[in-house]
């Protein structure tokens, strides 16, 4: 009984179906254990966690320099920038906007730096549904190669205050 003391000889190896099950479960766990690193090298989408120390003030300055150098227009009150393919590009998360809007070229690779100027935010690209955590003080670098043209929506999926649900941004990919 599980509520009474066990018999004195309880220390016994499992046998029968119980033993088989433990073997199967262990084998399955080992397979999954190998799958994880395997997919890291085999798969095309990883979160490498590449990040550098920054401060909100320093990051804001880099974002502004980036906008000044590459601005091509404005969209819904947000500056639209078109950076050179292959370059380092910047996106700031701030209560409650993603800033600036980015215009990228299909099949080109960019190093996207994202950081927060205040609290934690969640970078969520829709409808691709790709999600990354964005923290103040961390310059989170995502190496991205858009493979389909179109307008993408960035939403925030980490609670960041009362207008959290209004925090959206834009990435436009042109072919």
């Amino acid at each position: 009984m599980s509520i009474h003391q066990p018999p004195d000889d309880w220390f016994q190896a499992p046998h029968g179906p119980e033993r088989v099950w433990i073997g199967l479960a262990l084998a399955w766990c080992l397979i999954l254990f190998l799958m994880m690193p395997y997919w890291h090298f085999r798969g095309k989408q990883n979160s490498t966690g590449e990040a550098y120390r920054t401060t909100p003030a320093e990051f804001a300055e880099r974002v502004n320099r980036f906008i000044d150098a590459n601005k091509v227009g404005e969209e819904n009150g947000v500056p639209l920038v078109e950076p050179a393919p292959g370059s380092d590009i910047y996106l700031a998360a701030q209560m409650w906007r993603w800033y600036p809007a980015l215009k990228l070229k299909k099949d080109q690779t960019y190093r996207l730096h994202v950081s927060s100027l205040d609290v934690q935010h969640g970078f969520s690209l829709q409808p691709m549904n790709m999600n990354f955590q964005i923290l103040p003080g961390y310059d989170h670098v995502l190496t991205v190669t858009p493979t389909q043209s179109g307008d993408y929506l960035i939403i925030c999926n980490e609670f960041c205050g009362i207008n959290h649900h209004l925090m959206t941004g834009r990435i436009r990919v042109e072919g």
């Binding site: 309880w10 254990f33 925030c156 959206t168």
Partner: protein, 520 residues
């Protein structure tokens, strides 16, 4: 009347009774604290339940009940009252039971128990008041540098210290039981599971202290803001490990209910106990799966911690997932329910809410909770799931359909055996686990599929109306949110039924002192 002869153990005259149903000794001091903690747990459950229905009806786009500020406030309230107050008050009650009755010992210290209880109660009240005042809309995770009023953190710290003292009392019970030799050899399995939970609790609460104490000082203006990345690492040191406490407590409850409802015995004690040891050894680092898409932690760190540690803890659950139903099967076959492969299951006491809650909990936790959990914990899938509704979809199958439902099943025995009052409206009691179980499965499925369309969690408006850029979700996502809403209504009715039946039984139920509880 209570039998006057002192039960076996180290009890003092007048401080213990023998249970009229199980024949086990009950320390009357421990009994008082089991009652106090269980009552607080149910009160927290009620607060959480009111939150649950409001949230369910807000996230159902066709209803969209609450305004934004109240949605975020109630979300904070629901998360904290459910995940922390309901669950931990009940776990401390379980520790008082396992530490005394199962080990045939008296409660180590009544003073310590009072201190623990008062700290927890004051902490819970303080946190709840602060949330309802609208000065702590930060979610239960309170990710720095989003800041709440200092009383929010203070309340949580008081609660945690109280819980730690309760855990300390449990260890002290184990110690005096060994000293007084109230049991020979090894402790019963359920007590062993509780011990595993208690050990993890100590590690968890230490992490919590390192995360929350500096945050509290910061909210008072005495320190700089904690680093956002470190805060997350430390917070999940308590956030994840408490889930392992819950799993240990739930599995112990399964073993307990399997014994009380069908007289099941564990097949191989070594296997069951080793599985508990795996939880203790491998769970802390697995909390890395909460940081799979975080900056600042390397891919190697993520992969190593989420694969080796997590899968060995998963192995433990896979083992219990076999041994628990196997024990039920063996017990049932011994009773002659031996027809075919599943005759034992068909003939199980499905009308006993203790059994149905336990077995539904096993199925929901094992299949829905386990499968979603292992899937979400892989590096690549986490990219498409992080902070979407898939996450609450997962944990409403583990800690709600699993742990909470098992605890409800437990209450169907705690009230008659410890409060010594009978449940009334027995037909409704028999129905309740199904109502809640089915409802929460729909909630879980609805959330999981909506989340796979990208619908975020903790989000008031899936249409983004008024935002600079907006595009709603696929209509499929809306169907799934509707399913979640319907499930939420069902689960809420099930939960409210449970609360009303239990409150009625505790205060007005028929007394059963001096005789065995009415069998379910």
């Amino acid at each position: 009347m209570t039998s006057l002869a002192l039960p076996v153990g180290n009890f003092r005259t007048g401080e213990a009774r023998t249970c009229d149903t199980t024949g086990l000794p009950v320390c009357l001091h421990a009994q008082r604290f089991i009652k106090l903690n269980a009552v607080c747990a149910v009160v927290a459950l009620l607060v959480g339940a009111i939150g649950a229905i409001l949230l369910g009806l807000t996230r159902w786009p066709a209803v969209h009940l609450l305004p934004a500020d109240w949605y975020y406030r109630v979300l904070t309230l629901h998360g904290i009252n459910m995940l922390i107050f309901w669950i931990i008050f009940l776990e401390i009650a379980i520790l008082y039971f396992a530490g005394t009755t199962l080990l045939k010992t008296r409660l180590a210290s009544t003073k310590l128990a009072w201190t623990s209880f008062l700290l927890m109660a004051v902490g819970a009240v303080l946190t709840n008041i602060t949330i309802l005042q609208g000065t702590a809309d930060v979610m239960m995770t309170s990710y720095a540098p989003l800041q709440a009023h200092s009383n929010f953190y203070l309340g949580m710290i008081l609660f945690a210290v109280g819980a730690l003292l309760g855990v300390g009392n449990f260890f002290a019970c184990v110690w005096i039981a060994r000293r007084d030799k109230t049991y020979q050899g090894s402790m019963p399995l359920v007590a062993f599971g509780a011990l595993a939970a208690a050990i993890i609790a100590v590690v968890a609460i230490l992490h919590g202290a390192i995360a929350l104490v500096p945050t509290w000082l910061w909210s008072l203006g005495l320190m700089d803001a904690p680093d956002a990345g470190w805060y997350r690492l430390l917070w999940w040191g308590i956030g994840h490990q408490s889930q392992q406490i819950n799993v240990c407590a739930m599995v112990s409850t399964w073993y307990l209910l399997a014994t009380l409802t069908v007289g099941a015995k564990p097949l191989n004690q070594l296997v069951c106990r080793s599985a508990f040891v795996l939880y203790v050894l491998f769970i802390n680092i697995a909390s890395a799966h909460h940081l799979l898409v975080d900056p600042g932690v390397s891919a190697g760190w993520k992969i190593w911690n989420t694969s080796y540690a997590m899968y060995l803890a998963v192995l433990a659950s896979m083992i219990h997932g076999f041994t628990v139903p196997a024990a039920v099967e063996v017990a049932q076959r011994k009773k002659g329910h031996d027809r075919g492969l599943f005759g034992w299951l068909v003939k199980a006491p499905w009308a006993n809410p203790g059994f149905s809650a336990f077995f539904l909990s096993l199925i929901i936790f094992g299949f829905i909770g386990g499968i979603t959990g292992v899937t979400l914990g892989t590096q690549q899938i986490n990219i498409i799931a992080h902070n979407t509704l898939r996450i609450p979809g997962h944990f409403h199958a583990t800690v709600v359909g699993g742990t909470s439902l098992a605890f409800m099943g437990l209450c169907y025995y705690v009230v008659p055996l410890i409060f010594r009052r009978e449940y009334a409206a027995r037909a409704l009691c028999r129905l309740q686990p199904y109502l809640f179980g089915i409802g929460i499965v729909l909630v879980s499925i609805g959330m999981s599929f909506a989340g796979s369309y990208g619908v975020p969690r903790r989000h008031w408006d899936v249409e983004f109306s008024g935002a600079p850029f907006a595009k709603g979700f696929d209509s499929g996502a809306h169907v799934m949110l509707g399913l979640m809403g319907i499930g939420a209504v069902l689960a809420f009715v099930g939960l409210l039924t449970f609360i009303l039946l239990t409150v009625h039984a505790v205060f007005l139920g028929k007394r059963n002192e001096g005789r065995a509880m009415t069998a379910w």
